[in-house]
């Protein structure tokens, strides 16, 4: 019975850690002075409303690879929109001259390299991808 309980607890811990590792978080480079953002502030930056962080520094949002699970999940969590809707939204903003869409990269590694190397970039990664070079500024509520 006791052994059975230990297995059960181990299983739940594993599931919980696994869930956490696959959770999306919004991050900036370690050298970026921004410590935390609200969801509204993340929306403002990623939906082209403002082109700076709250402290006035220019913000350069980065997107994951088009069609990836991470990108689709991020926009569902952020504004509850499909990637198709986000594409149409950005076509409207881009060609009306209001704002340019987040930079996108051919691979996630390229995106992560850019994220780590600039003070102006902001991105979203799996919790498991966060290392010492990145700083979490927003966590989506579970």
């Amino acid at each position: 019975m006791r052994q059975c309980m230990i297995h059960l607890i181990t299983f739940f811990l594993f599931v919980s850690c696994s869930y956490s590792a696959h959770a999306l978080v919004v991050v900036v480079g370690k050298n970026n002075p921004v410590e935390a953002l609200s969801k509204t502030q993340v929306i403002d930056i990623y939906m082209g409303r403002y082109n700076t962080f709250p402290n006035g520094v220019v913000a350069r949002p980065l997107d994951r690879v088009a069609g990836s699970d991470a990108k689709q999940k991020f926009y569902r969590l952020l504004v509850n929109k499909s990637e198709e809707k986000i594409n149409a939204y950005w076509a409207r903003l881009l060609f009306s001259g209001r704002a340019s869409p987040p930079s996108s990269y051919a691979t996630n590694d390229e995106m992560l390299d850019e994220l780590r190397s600039s003070k102006q970039t902001i991105g979203y990664v799996l919790e498991s991808e966060v290392d010492d070079s990145l700083k979490v500024v927003y966590r989506f509520e579970k």
């Binding site: 509204t40 088009a66 499909s82 198709e84 076509a91 060609f95 009306s96 209001r98």
Partner: protein, 423 residues
């Protein structure tokens, strides 16, 4: 043709556009310039031999099968000069009445971001007075084959301007608020039921406000413009009035004033609502044109569109309508001296049918039912199929190019198929 007295503002805007082209070229070698584009390959079939279909008044009307009205290609350069300064140039190649090279530039402006909430722009810009005003050429970005002509066609003559504007924006509650104020002028080559005409609007004052939350958006807008020049001459009226001195026909100069266009104001008021929850989509706008010029009648126009979205497909239905609100314009010739001989008075009275014809030549009174499907084929390609059934009241064909005078209360069917890319 018109010989416009180009104002300093217009001249400065042209210079700015040319210099932005040069700036774009010099920056093209680095990542400060982003190039993007859009294109539509669209075919229409118009079942009327008499009335030429056109998406708006700037485009020649077509009958039968044609690729011309909807097909276009556009290129845009976004030039980041500094964190505060940037520029945007957009050129669109499409079938249109105006073939001046400079007017293939739809947008060319320089922007200064004062802070996160305030932006100033100068150059040539889209007039932000309706939902699609800033991206009406980008078929990928909206639902229908083209914006509903009843609402968009007439206001397209002021769809761009050269001048400046200021944008205020801020987060408000759970949504986002923007307000814009602009001032400038524009030239437009537009068509009536017959040949094309050139019109020059000055003192354009624009204001718009918009509030958007996640699933919905409302907007209100206002435009006030003054007609400064118009390529239709008033020689016939002038010649007729010149035949009769004012002591015989005191009403002549007053009649001339009714038809004169210089300095006459045109005003537009618009309201719009859009809802989109990824399953249902509703969009509606209503607009009022208030005109001091009798030839351009006061009108009310609008549309309601309902869409159902499922698995990349959006099935939609739209009802749109336009009609004049001032229907009882007088065709009286005005005061004739009681001392005028009977034959002279009769000659002056014989102008009434001509006056009536002039007053009726630019009236739009019709409604259209549209059904269609929008298919997001890939992340950068949308295909659209749309069927339009237009019912035109009396002989109020102002939204069409009239090749042959059809019978009254004519109906026209237009089928459209298009592929729309962004790249």
């Amino acid at each position: 043709m018109l010989h416009f007295k180009r104002s300093q503002l217009h001249f400065a805007a042209c210079l700015l556009m040319l210099s932005l082209c040069a700036v774009s070229d010099s920056f093209a070698a680095n990542d400060k310039v982003k190039l993007n584009g859009f294109a539509t390959l669209g075919a229409i079939y118009n079942d009327s031999d008499d009335l030429g279909f056109r998406p708006n008044l700037k485009i020649p009307g077509r009958t039968g099968l044609s690729l011309a009205p909807d097909s276009l290609i556009g290129l845009q350069a976004n030039i980041n000069i500094s964190p505060q300064w940037d520029a945007v140039i957009q050129a669109v190649y499409r079938d249109k009445l105006d073939e001046k090279a400079i007017n293939y530039l739809d947008v060319a402006f320089l922007r200064y971001r004062l802070n996160n909430r305030l932006e100033l722009r100068g150059g040539r810009m889209n007039t932000d007075i309706y939902f699609l005003s800033e991206y009406k050429s980008v078929g990928y970005a909206y639902l229908w084959a083209r914006p509903p002509a009843e609402f968009y066609s007439k206001v397209t003559s002021v769809s761009q301007f050269e001048g400046g504007d200021v944008l205020f924006k801020r987060s408000l509650g759970d949504g986002f608020f923007t307000a814009k104020l602009g001032y400038g002028e524009t030239d437009a080559s537009i068509a009536t039921t017959g040949d094309g005409l050139d019109v020059h609007f000055t003192n354009m004052l624009m204001a718009s406000a918009s509030y958007q939350q996640n699933n919905w958006q409302v907007r209100a807008s206002f435009l006030d413009a003054r007609v400064n020049d118009f390529s239709a001459d008033l020689n016939t009226i002038d010649d007729a009035i010149a035949l009769f001195p004012p002591n015989i026909w005191p009403g002549g100069p007053r009649l001339r004033e009714r038809f004169d266009f210089v300095g006459k104001k045109q005003q537009f008021f618009g309201l719009g609502y859009r809802f989109d929850n990824d399953t249902w989509l509703v969009q509606s706008e209503i607009g009022f044109i208030n005109s001091q010029w009798d030839i351009e009648r006061d009108t009310v126009s609008g549309y309601v569109s309902l869409g159902y979205q499922n698995d990349g497909m959006t099935y939609f239905a739209t009802v749109s309508a336009v009609e004049p609100t001032k229907n009882n314009l007088s065709d009286r010739v005005g005061e004739i001296s009681p001392n005028a001989p009977a034959a002279i008075a009769a000659a002056i009275q014989s102008f009434r049918p001509l006056i009536r014809e002039a007053l009726e030549q630019n009236v739009a009174n019709q409604h259209t039912f549209s059904l269609g499907v929008n298919w997001m084929f890939s992340a950068s390609l949308v295909a659209k199929l749309q069927l339009d059934h237009s019912v035109i009241a009396d002989d109020d064909y102002a939204l069409w190019r009239v090749y042959n005078e059809p019978e009254a209360d004519h109906t026209v069917n237009v089928a459209s198929l298009s592929l729309n890319w962004v790249f």
